[in-house]
């Protein structure tokens, strides 16, 4: 898809969202900002992929959402990681590490 965030491997957005929410519940913009900050601007997440992903993760039972007041006193929808999501994140992280290591080994062997 053309509007995929630059450099973001397909399917990893879900993992990044889950990871971001591991620390604390956040709202949509906060999640986008956090991903951008931590990746030092490598990944820019646009709302066109972010919100469908929220809907998907919510339906899968990995996230919950609730309306809360923000720091500057506005209402926003906060996403909360669920036990199922935590488990999923753990699994995906392990798998990612395994694959990344494998890819790295292959790339080293090639050169």
């Amino acid at each position: 898809m053309a509007d995929k965030p630059s450099g973001l491997v397909q399917g990893t957005l879900d993992m990044l969202i889950l990871k971001t929410l591991e620390l604390e519940p956040m709202h949509g913009y906060g999640i986008a900002m956090r991903i951008e900050q931590i990746s030092k601007g490598v990944f820019q997440v646009n709302p066109g992929s972010l919100f469908p992903a929220f809907r998907r993760l919510e339906r899968a039972g990995w996230l919950n959402s609730e309306w809360r007041d923000t720091a500057n006193n506005r209402r926003a929808k906060y996403y909360v990681l669920q036990a199922l999501g935590r488990k999923q994140l753990k699994g995906e992280t392990r798998e990612w590490a395994r694959q990344a290591a494998a890819i790295a080994r292959i790339l080293e062997a090639e050169s």
Binding site: D3, H27, G28, Y29, G30, A32, M33, N46, P47, G48, S49, F51, P52, A53, F54, R55, R56, E58, R59, A60, G61, T70, N72, R74, R75, A76, K77, L84
Partner: protein
């Protein structure tokens, strides 16, 4: 857990759509605000921050759309949209929608209805436990029998039944039964109900559980039981007793004798005869009480029973038949009627019993209606095929028109899947509407079918649960047709590049030769199938017309049959003739009665009797069979049957005068070589005695006796005034021009004036003729209906193709006209195309009809299935319709303005 959550979330999205949308709006707005705030915090002014944030986000609507698409309920929503859109499109072309739906509904409805009836009378097993074990015991290849036949199924005699019951080993339980009609009125007008003679084992072997009280057991069916208990059916209990709580123990009057009701059979049990329901079941042993002097219980030549049983486990039909064959000689030895002459006895002793599967019950309807129904089912299937072809044609026509639309939608980004889904929804709508309407029609049509093969005296009773299998099957086929041909535009539009479709002028893009060829094939096959149906319709119509207008030897209209039962009067034998004569004189005296006469046998009633006759001719004794009817004077005058020679019976013919007889032409032809029979004598052989001589005093014109289809039968008539033992009933035929209603009421009061104890029953003779032509009328009507439908469908199909052809060739026609072609030559051009299609269709149809109509041979009267005139008429009428269908577009083509036609390009 997550599935449940998904489902709940989806349902919330569907049913609380507004709230979900509002939340999504708020969340997105919040996002935007946060982004703007963030940018302003970095020192960008508000206006620029808003602009930048909006650009980053992209269109709010497209984000929302993508969020919606992430969940399953959006699929439901687009499906709903597709259906609504399809409905709107169909509303825009109501003629197309109506034609498609109606033709589908008629095809589906007719097929389902016919199949339901066929299933009910032919295919379905009896509603009893392990019906497949049921076996009938009867004489294999009886080839005629001698004696009295007093049942619809006169298979065996009671003495035979007693023998079979004790001797057979093949069946684990056996029972005997016979259908009859009982008068349950205690007096006055006759109240006939469907009766059943049953042996004591009947209910037990069938495994029927009573709804009330108890059913009959062998205890009830003991020899010489005078007045045993009887069982009534559920329907009868509801109808006659309003479901009376205390029915058990109540008395019911059968032929003037009281019987106690012991129980009620369950609603699901209608007996073992398919197509009939019983009202009252009476043990065999009560037969002498009810039939009194006509009892056949102990007569060895009284045929009235059917024997059935359950096959023992491990036995096959073949093994059972072999066993029954082995015990046959002893059984027939023991039950041989003593009065048989050696010839009859030899035939009788040669009978062999056999076992026959009876899991689907016994049915006389089957013989009459099974073949016609299969044939009708075939015709109905043809109609469905034609309707499907028509639909395919219509769908293809629409497809061409919509190719540009499809190309356009592809160009603006519709996916192939979405287009196909859209068209599928439309086809499904058509198919489902057709199926739904078809189911409704099937319901009504089945009732109509049942009504048209029911008679007053034997109402047809069938369990007509909607047959979902058949409905599903026919609907499936048609929906498949819709889908296949409805998808054509999507498949084509998605195969061709949208640019090509849009660039082309539209007309030339749709004139793909292959697909137009398909439409021609469809039309040719429609015409061919229509011709088959038209041929069938005309064959059956002509057959019915021949039956209805043939010379039966009597004038059918204006004759009323009056049946009197004098049993209650207890007249001694020697006073009966006198009393009957008195009644006849009173009837004749009624104003408006043209003529009246007594008749032993009423033509076409199905009743009859025959005798062995002996004649002396040229010193030789000739022996043969002749039908016999016992009549009063004026019988022939009442029928308007001329007496060709000699005289009618009259007052001269009394008990003491010389015995006389009148014979018909066939009799004279067969036994007297066609010579004038008046003055000749004959003798009658009855059982082992000979009676006579009878002097022939008259020659009557031939008339039909049992059935309108028969060849005239040799018949002799004897005067009732010379009968030694007159019966206690009297049948009077009355010819009158008076209104039936008035006549019946006058007759009622006249008879009641003579004696209030006389039971009466009235039957207009034309009603009887109608009943005898029931099957022919059914075939003529239904095949006519199918034929008409087929012609209409084929006409529409041809019209569509020719119109399409004209549109496609508009510019060509314009050029021709511009170059000087006149209107006639344009019409000729179009008609030539049509006549090629028609000719091809007719040719194929003719071949198919000639091959297929042989099936109908046995159902036709007075003409062959290859009847030349029928084919000429069928081809002519179909051609006329086709000419009309192609002339209209041809004329339109000829009126084209060449300038307009060319500018069109």
């Amino acid at each position: 857990m997550s599935l449940l959550r998904n489902l709940a979330g989806g349902l919330r999205g569907l049913f609380r759509k507004q709230q979900v949308e509002r939340e999504m709006d708020e969340e997105l707005r919040g996002y935007l605000d946060a982004a703007v705030n963030e940018k302003m915090r970095r020192g960008i002014n508000r206006e620029q921050a808003v602009r930048a944030a909006r650009i980053e986000m992209g269109g709010t609507e497209s984000v929302k759309q993508r969020v919606r698409a992430a969940s399953w309920e959006s699929l439901v929503e687009t499906l709903w949209q597709d259906l609504r859109f399809g409905l709107r499109l169909l509303r825009f072309s109501p003629a197309f929608a109506a034609a498609a739906i109606l033709s589908l509904a008629l095809g589906i409805g007719a097929n389902t209805a016919i199949f339901q009836l066929l299933d009910a009378i032919r295919l379905r097993a009896l509603p009893v436990k392990n019906a497949q074990e049921l076996t009938e015991v009867r004489i294999a290849e009886r080839n005629g029998a001698t004696g009295s036949f007093v049942s619809r199924y006169p298979n065996l005699t009671n003495p035979m039944w007693s023998q079979i019951r004790t001797q057979q080993q093949a069946l684990s339980g056996v029972f005997a039964w016979g259908p009859t009609s009982f008068n349950i009125s205690p007096g006055g007008p006759v109240h006939p109900v469907q009766g059943l003679w049953v042996s004591g084992e009947f209910f037990g072997v069938l495994g029927i559980v009573p709804e009330r009280g108890r059913l009959l057991s062998p205890e009830d069916d003991r020899a010489e039981c005078a007045s045993p208990g009887v069982v009534v059916s559920h329907a009868f209990w509801q109808r006659e007793y309003g479901g009376d709580e205390f029915i058990v123990g109540r008395k019911i009057t059968i032929e003037k004798h009281p019987f106690e009701v012991t129980g009620v059979a369950p609603a699901s049990f209608y007996g073992v005869e398919v197509g009939r329901n019983f009202d009252v079941a009476v043990p065999l042993c009560a037969e002498p009480t009810i039939r009194s002097e006509f009892s056949v219980l102990n007569r060895r030549d009284g045929w009235w029973l059917t024997v059935m049983g359950r096959l023992k486990p491990g036995w096959t039909m073949e093994k059972a038949s072999a066993h029954l064959r082995a015990i046959s000689p002893a059984i027939f030895e023991a039950t041989l009627p003593t009065e048989f002459d050696p010839g009859d006895a030899k035939h009788f002793l040669g009978y062999k019993l056999g076992a026959f599967p009876a899991g689907t019950g016994i049915s006389g309807l089957r013989e009459t209606y099974e073949d016609p129904l299969w044939l009708l089912l075939g015709l109905g299937a043809l109609v469905l095929l034609i309707a499907s072809a028509n639909l395919a044609n219509l769908m293809l026509a629409r497809a061409s028109a919509r190719e540009r639309e499809m190309g356009m939608r592809m160009a603006v980004g519709a996916t192939r899947g979405r287009l196909i889904r859209q068209l599928l929804a439309e086809s499904l709508l058509l198919g489902l509407a057709g199926a739904l309407l078809g189911a409704q029609l099937a319901h009504g049509l089945t009732r109509l079918l049942v009504a048209s093969i029911s008679t007053d005296s034997a109402p047809l009773f069938v369990d007509l649960a909607m047959d979902w299998r058949m409905l599903g099957f026919t609907s499936g086929i048609t929906v498949l047709t819709c889908v296949l041909f409805g998808l054509a535009p999507a498949l084509r539009a998605t195969r061709v590049s949208p640019g090509a479709v849009l660039k082309s002028s539209g007309r030339s893009a749709t004139s793909g030769r292959a697909r137009f060829g398909l439409r021609r094939v469809l039309v040719v096959s429609q015409i061919a199938m229509s011709l088959m149906l038209v041929v069938g319709a005309i064959l059956f119509a002509r057959s019915l017309q021949k039956l209805a207008t043939l010379d039966a030897g009597f004038t059918q209209n204006g004759v009323l049959e009056l049946d009197l039962d004098l049993t209650a009067l207890h007249l001694p034998v020697d006073r009966r003739a006198e009393f009957k004569g008195l009644v006849l004189r009173r009837v004749r005296a009624i104003p408006g009665v043209e003529s009246a006469a007594e008749a032993g046998i009423v033509p076409l009633s199905g009743n009859g009797m025959n005798r062995q006759v002996l004649l002396d001719r040229a010193g030789q004794v000739i022996e043969g069979k002749s039908e016999l009817n016992e009549i009063s004077p004026k019988y022939f005058a009442t029928w308007h049957t001329p007496i060709l020679a000699g005289r009618d019976f009259d007052d001269r013919d009394t008990l003491t005068s010389p015995k006389v007889t009148i014979v018909n032409e066939s009799f004279a032809r067969k036994y007297l070589a066609g010579a004038n029979p008046v003055g000749a004598t004959l003798r009658v052989k009855s059982e082992s005695k000979q009676t006579g001589p009878f002097q022939i005093v008259g020659l009557a014109k031939d008339a039909k006796l049992y059935d309108l289809r028969e060849e005239y039968l040799p018949t002799m008539f004897m005067p009732v005034t010379q009968k030694e033992h007159p019966e206690q009933d009297e049948t009077i035929l009355i010819r009158s021009q008076a209104s039936l209603f008035g006549l019946i009421s006058v007759l009622k009061s006249t008879v009641q004036q003579i004696n209030r104890g006389i039971d009466m029953d009235f039957t207009p003779f034309d009603r009887m003729v109608e009943v005898s032509l029931q099957r022919d009328r059914l075939m003529a009507r239904l095949s006519g209906f199918f034929g008409l439908l087929a012609v209409l469908l084929a006409t529409v199909g041809l019209y569509g193709v020719i119109t399409y052809m004209v549109e496609r060739r508009t510019s060509e026609i314009g050029i021709r006209m511009a170059l000087g072609a006149d209107r006639a030559s344009i019409v000729h051009l179009v008609l030539r195309e049509a006549s090629v299609l028609l000719g091809l269709g007719l040719l194929i149809g003719m071949a198919l009809s000639l091959a297929g109509s042989r099936v109908a041979a046995a159902m036709l009267f007075g003409l062959k299935p290859t009847d030349f005139a029928t084919y000429v008429l069928a081809v002519a009428s179909l051609s006329a319709f086709a000419a009309l269908a192609s002339f209209l577009p041809a004329r339109r083509a000829s009126r084209l303005d060449p300038v307009v036609a060319l500018r069109n390009e």
